[in-house]
Symmetry: D4
Subunit: 245 residues, 8 copies
Amino acid sequence: MALEDVLEAYKNGQIELNEALTGIRGAYFEDIGHTIVDHDRERRTGAGEVVFGSGKSAAQISDIVATLVANEANVLVTRLEPEKHAALTDLPNNAVYHADAQLLIWHAKPPAPLPHPIAVVTAGTSDINVAEEAALTAEFYGNQVSRIFDVGVAGLHRILARLDELRQARVLVVVAGMEGALPSVVGGLVERPVIAVPTSVGYGAAFDGVAAMLGMLTSCASGVSVVNIDNGFGAGFLANSINRL
Amino acid sequence: MALEDVLEAYKNGQIELNEALTGIRGAYFEDIGHTIVDHDRERRTGAGEVVFGSGKSAAQISDIVATLVANEANVLVTRLEPEKHAALTDLPNNAVYHADAQLLIWHAKPPAPLPHPIAVVTAGTSDINVAEEAALTAEFYGNQVSRIFDVGVAGLHRILARLDELRQARVLVVVAGMEGALPSVVGGLVERPVIAVPTSVGYGAAFDGVAAMLGMLTSCASGVSVVNIDNGFGAGFLANSINRL
Amino acid sequence: MALEDVLEAYKNGQIELNEALTGIRGAYFEDIGHTIVDHDRERRTGAGEVVFGSGKSAAQISDIVATLVANEANVLVTRLEPEKHAALTDLPNNAVYHADAQLLIWHAKPPAPLPHPIAVVTAGTSDINVAEEAALTAEFYGNQVSRIFDVGVAGLHRILARLDELRQARVLVVVAGMEGALPSVVGGLVERPVIAVPTSVGYGAAFDGVAAMLGMLTSCASGVSVVNIDNGFGAGFLANSINRL
Amino acid sequence: MALEDVLEAYKNGQIELNEALTGIRGAYFEDIGHTIVDHDRERRTGAGEVVFGSGKSAAQISDIVATLVANEANVLVTRLEPEKHAALTDLPNNAVYHADAQLLIWHAKPPAPLPHPIAVVTAGTSDINVAEEAALTAEFYGNQVSRIFDVGVAGLHRILARLDELRQARVLVVVAGMEGALPSVVGGLVERPVIAVPTSVGYGAAFDGVAAMLGMLTSCASGVSVVNIDNGFGAGFLANSINRL
Amino acid sequence: MALEDVLEAYKNGQIELNEALTGIRGAYFEDIGHTIVDHDRERRTGAGEVVFGSGKSAAQISDIVATLVANEANVLVTRLEPEKHAALTDLPNNAVYHADAQLLIWHAKPPAPLPHPIAVVTAGTSDINVAEEAALTAEFYGNQVSRIFDVGVAGLHRILARLDELRQARVLVVVAGMEGALPSVVGGLVERPVIAVPTSVGYGAAFDGVAAMLGMLTSCASGVSVVNIDNGFGAGFLANSINRL
Amino acid sequence: MALEDVLEAYKNGQIELNEALTGIRGAYFEDIGHTIVDHDRERRTGAGEVVFGSGKSAAQISDIVATLVANEANVLVTRLEPEKHAALTDLPNNAVYHADAQLLIWHAKPPAPLPHPIAVVTAGTSDINVAEEAALTAEFYGNQVSRIFDVGVAGLHRILARLDELRQARVLVVVAGMEGALPSVVGGLVERPVIAVPTSVGYGAAFDGVAAMLGMLTSCASGVSVVNIDNGFGAGFLANSINRL
Amino acid sequence: MALEDVLEAYKNGQIELNEALTGIRGAYFEDIGHTIVDHDRERRTGAGEVVFGSGKSAAQISDIVATLVANEANVLVTRLEPEKHAALTDLPNNAVYHADAQLLIWHAKPPAPLPHPIAVVTAGTSDINVAEEAALTAEFYGNQVSRIFDVGVAGLHRILARLDELRQARVLVVVAGMEGALPSVVGGLVERPVIAVPTSVGYGAAFDGVAAMLGMLTSCASGVSVVNIDNGFGAGFLANSINRL
Amino acid sequence: MALEDVLEAYKNGQIELNEALTGIRGAYFEDIGHTIVDHDRERRTGAGEVVFGSGKSAAQISDIVATLVANEANVLVTRLEPEKHAALTDLPNNAVYHADAQLLIWHAKPPAPLPHPIAVVTAGTSDINVAEEAALTAEFYGNQVSRIFDVGVAGLHRILARLDELRQARVLVVVAGMEGALPSVVGGLVERPVIAVPTSVGYGAAFDGVAAMLGMLTSCASGVSVVNIDNGFGAGFLANSINRL
């Protein structure tokens, strides 16, 4: 029973308050014990629920995925280590696991492709895993992704040589570790929103991504915002929500 | 002489390499001694140069503004304390100074209004100055702004009561100090991009905005990105660049 | 010989000062070499001594537990990893080990049940281990516990749907990682004391629970206090001491 | 019109949805431009809204106080510096300002006194201002307060000499700067809940209260929870909510 | 050739400047490739060179020990993990390894015993390994050590019951993790120098000993100084140098 | 009535328990409202109570000093800014104020001079204020002080030239800001205890003394312990307690 | 085709703009998928590209090395753990792997030796691995290196005895952990540039090299600059670029 | 009497040991009470002593300058605020004070000009004060300085347009606040040593220069080293010592 029907029935006196509340809850989400699966989220925020795999057991993730599959929702599990992926049960046959990006993806129905590309840019080779998490997330929601990798600021002509690709993108995800300077440079070259992703690449004073994060937050370029360290998923999700506007 | 003309003239042998380089530089920017005013920035990134007032003397700012005005560029000076504003010289008559947001605004030509509104939301009354910096910046570039103030999470019905306004916005700027929880709540209620602005409101373990900044970067809601502490300008600028897509 | 008797005997001159002091010491605690078991603690603070398992060897813990059992004291060992639990010796047969919460529990005499429930609330599924440490500790002391799990702020209707349960509790333990926003929301919905427990769930700028801890300490909701990161035991213990008032 | 009446009228078809929503909002709060005054808060959380004075202008505070007074709500303004207090307008005649604790207090109707005392304890003389903020807040809500000042751990007999007073309190607020050791000692002496307040007293490695805050969060005593640095109000508020159980 | 002889010979013209310099160097230390063994240190600072085992290979340590043994110097190797100890070669037969304190000790000639005892005190059982590093170091140099373990501040009568032993010590080493409050309490009870050793015992906001370290540095008790986290050796060494005065 | 007399009277039944407790309290300390003056401290810890001036009002300090003077105790007030000193009332005529060290000193009876000197050493000229706080404190308790100033490690011959003076001292207080390297060098040159005092001299990465503090805590020299940043008093007090052994 | 030829051909109309751009790109770098190998770097910055091994897979490194070898460029791979080195494929036969310094080195053509030596100095034995990374990097570029190891400041005569060697070097790399005091001492003894390398040697308040890093940045000696913690490569590279002047 | 003469006289028996030591001390430095002026420093390190003005009184600085002038040494006083400069006495007539860079400069004899220029580069206008401190210091020692200001990375063509000037410099000082990205870009464009100076320009997550400092320490460009935040003097001094090679 849809939410509107519940409310209508309650107003008409066909159901009591308790029944109405139960109905409202059922339309919204499903409690499977350890987790409350949010079936309303897609309607409410435009994107289905994503399963954050870290800190959940394989059994818990298997339960959640099964519930989503049963509801014909698209499935995206993030931060899923290979060993945990190997321990999952009852996965749909055509679910795809990306080991480097630690993502599991399954589509009940593939999304319609979006017309404009998103660029995912990295400073170095070591940033690629996080970048792939962003790129695959964006593709999961139907975006085209232009990958521009290893164009860090210590060799400027590398990024300048890709200027056309950069400027064709409607949104840019820029992934960098160490001093995290690339978003500032990209932000000065394009007029589009730049989502900066600090990575934990580096050592010593890089402090597992803190140096890059602070550098991106204090960027002298305008139009740059920042997500958490190594949060490729968050950047890809946000890029999609911007690209859909 | 436009950049294309310089290149054409150089190719045709009408000018030497040195002249070409000088011409290219002139088309791009103007060196006024202490500062290089970037006349090409609007073409390159879609928004004219903004003057970051902090750390510049009144004389330096007056010079830069005069150069921009002479080029018929719109003028936005940020972080301009009242005393420094009072010491500026040669301002255009109709320049407007907003003391709370510490912004100086002058339009050579007002921008065409954008069709969709931006929402600027604050957790508390004390966050309003930063929020106004964001809102006025967005308006400077032609955006309509819906102000939704003092709707922090400790009284949820306040934010729930404004749900319609929240959902009508195409982009949302959410400004909060202390624990900075509001962007997580807003991010769970809307499907649009949320730009979170931590403020230095609070004391003790708020650490001048660090608690809010960390909270926003680690938000459990997707679709949220973060700018620097108290960076209302950055949020308004980015909201505009997203809203223009 | 009870403490009062010792003092009486000393005053009456039946024993010398040295004897009196020895007697006073014996009534209070027992020195088993590496550890001083505090038999007076229950009288003094209303709750028997708890064994903090971390950093103690299996042999040391076995000694302490044996001493407590010999004194017919209830036994609670916290932070006991499964391997260390497996290495304990001379445990009472009916001691129960909870692997997720890393607690060992044995009752000499079960406590009388308390009339009012405590609520233990989590933001996500990954916070459940810490929440169970709190819930089982509270139950160890005779409290009824209402578990409300996975109701984080990014999907507000989840917490709103459990409002009745929240409001029936006399004390609330709210467990959250990442940005730690849930205690602020709960604190705004109920009139009861809220004990916030930051967890180390999250990555990057979550800094192993620091972001949540700072967020909770700077909560805009009143009536919230905070215990150490991942300190489920401390929250459960305090909830019991409040619930006994 | 009370909330129940609004809902009844809506169900009966006497009013439309829009009217119902407006009515619900009105019953809950009042929007005075910069601030949303929460008239429902007392019903919802058991305590009227408190005005956090820091970061608000004298004019804004005057508006809020006037709105509260008009609603016959008791008034507590915190973090109100003397100069700002002097600039307030339209205060009720018998409003009382406490300069050291930076509190403004006015009662529409004095609360009924609570039967059990709260103890407010400080380590040193320099912690008294924060302690008074806690004590006056608790008294504002009707609690009796037992003040036990300057009993820090470097002279143990000072605290031991006040043991009876400590043990008569139903809740204890313990205020300390520097290393913040006093709550651990008090927590080992009493069986009641201890609310620890770190203060910014100290210099160097005290880091404006951080040393005390960390010390209290990692206290070896059970039954201790912590509020923000210098947050006397929060401790007094929570002590009241515990004492009312 | 002793240093005085070298200088005399140089002044008398019996040797050239280069020879003199070589002679001076030889009297002072011996270069064994990776390490310069300092044979002059005992004369210069009153205590023989100690080998900091961490970061050195088993082969390097074996070389250094052999050089010291050949010079009939007493040997103390600190931070020597059991595996590295097992890999050492050519140890004297009667060298003693203490696994908990991670010390290797060998005496060429036992030191004369000192008349006054040192007290080594711990807050908890988990602090004992660090305390043993301090106690064994002090004993290595000829001090008597009074061990007073597990007397943390949450059960004050434990420390009060040992007051006589505390006051008999000429120097006190106080070892504590978590909030590190014990040195403040001990410092208020005795008139002797207190050397505080923070330990990495604890979790969460204990930050691997930082909370204890800050607490000890900001202690409200006078007469307390602090060594590095877990630096039992440093405390024992300093206690000896004070006790020898 | 002395403490022994109180106990005797109680044992003999001449006084009741309540009277006995009151008598014991009176012998120990005196409650003057805001502060508890500890008259027993000198007996208990070997040094009279010191007044920490920071955070206390001039009126409070005047009260405490008057109470001490009335008891014929020597008086040392630390962290007393010139303005606060000027506001004190009822000071003894011959009290001496040291503006640089911010100390007020008055002797009821001068202490007997100690036979061995203490050295107070600074790295730079800017560290002298803190060094004087240490030196004057040590002199207050009867120590002779050898001042060795401006001998920082960037010009080693300066410290080497004073080697004799360094080695004549029985205890050394070494005061340094910036990188705080001097205690490591001094600790390698002498066999006596070294008390290191980090100062807040420096800028940028000196972080108000944190760099020096960390450097001193991790000193490669043995026999070095550390007090709080700028804590000259603590160093002087501890040097005295060591020198009295 | 060299860059100059491309430009000439374009100016002469022999090639179109697109061809010109492609040619320019080809002369500069080569895109091998995951990585862009920068063949122009040597011309641009005077030193060939170095492969930062950390975070790259063995397959990626093998690709890059093969590309460099095919271009007859000298090869230096840094931060190459032994296991990853073992997994590399297609290495030239005479490539040399240094396990302690974690460097792989292969010369297409050995560089001409430079006339002046560089000194690489360490405070302790545990700093040697980082020092070797610096020394071998400098040797890779043709520098002579004078190794002066284990001359930390706690035994000053060790460094003083090597003063001649120190002063013969044209540039000095000084490597130290713990408090990182050695560069300050060396900087006061020589007139040459000193490159300070903090190492992660130490524990507790050494914070994995942070104490040393802060100490070096705030050094009281002039002429000292700092590279990242454990960044022996960076120091060796910079020493070479200075030594080539 | 020169040092060699002292040694000769001692060897020849013309003077006693004590006289020799006094003579050696006198040749080296001069003790003026609060400060030891180091007359040997120029011989030892190639540059005369510089007076760090911060934390010294005007009287102390006047003393030191007078001593240097009397020795005909060139004078450089750094961190000299205008008020303190105004309070100096007995300055030579032609001493020059630079208010922005807070430097006082006086030459006994101007240094011979060096053949190669140093470049001093800034990211923004707000970094100029620190840059001038570096530039004037370098000029004080005889260097030519090429100033390249306001060429931050958000407008890359600004720095690219000055490439020739950058490449003509033998050493580069690059000054930047906020994210501090400019040294990475410059380091990738030139083959010369780059000295990076983080500035405290910026707000929020810039943390008074920490973000820039960390960014520079973790720069992906090789050949970059870092000095303390705002340490223009240190950079200019080091640039000179490199340029003299």
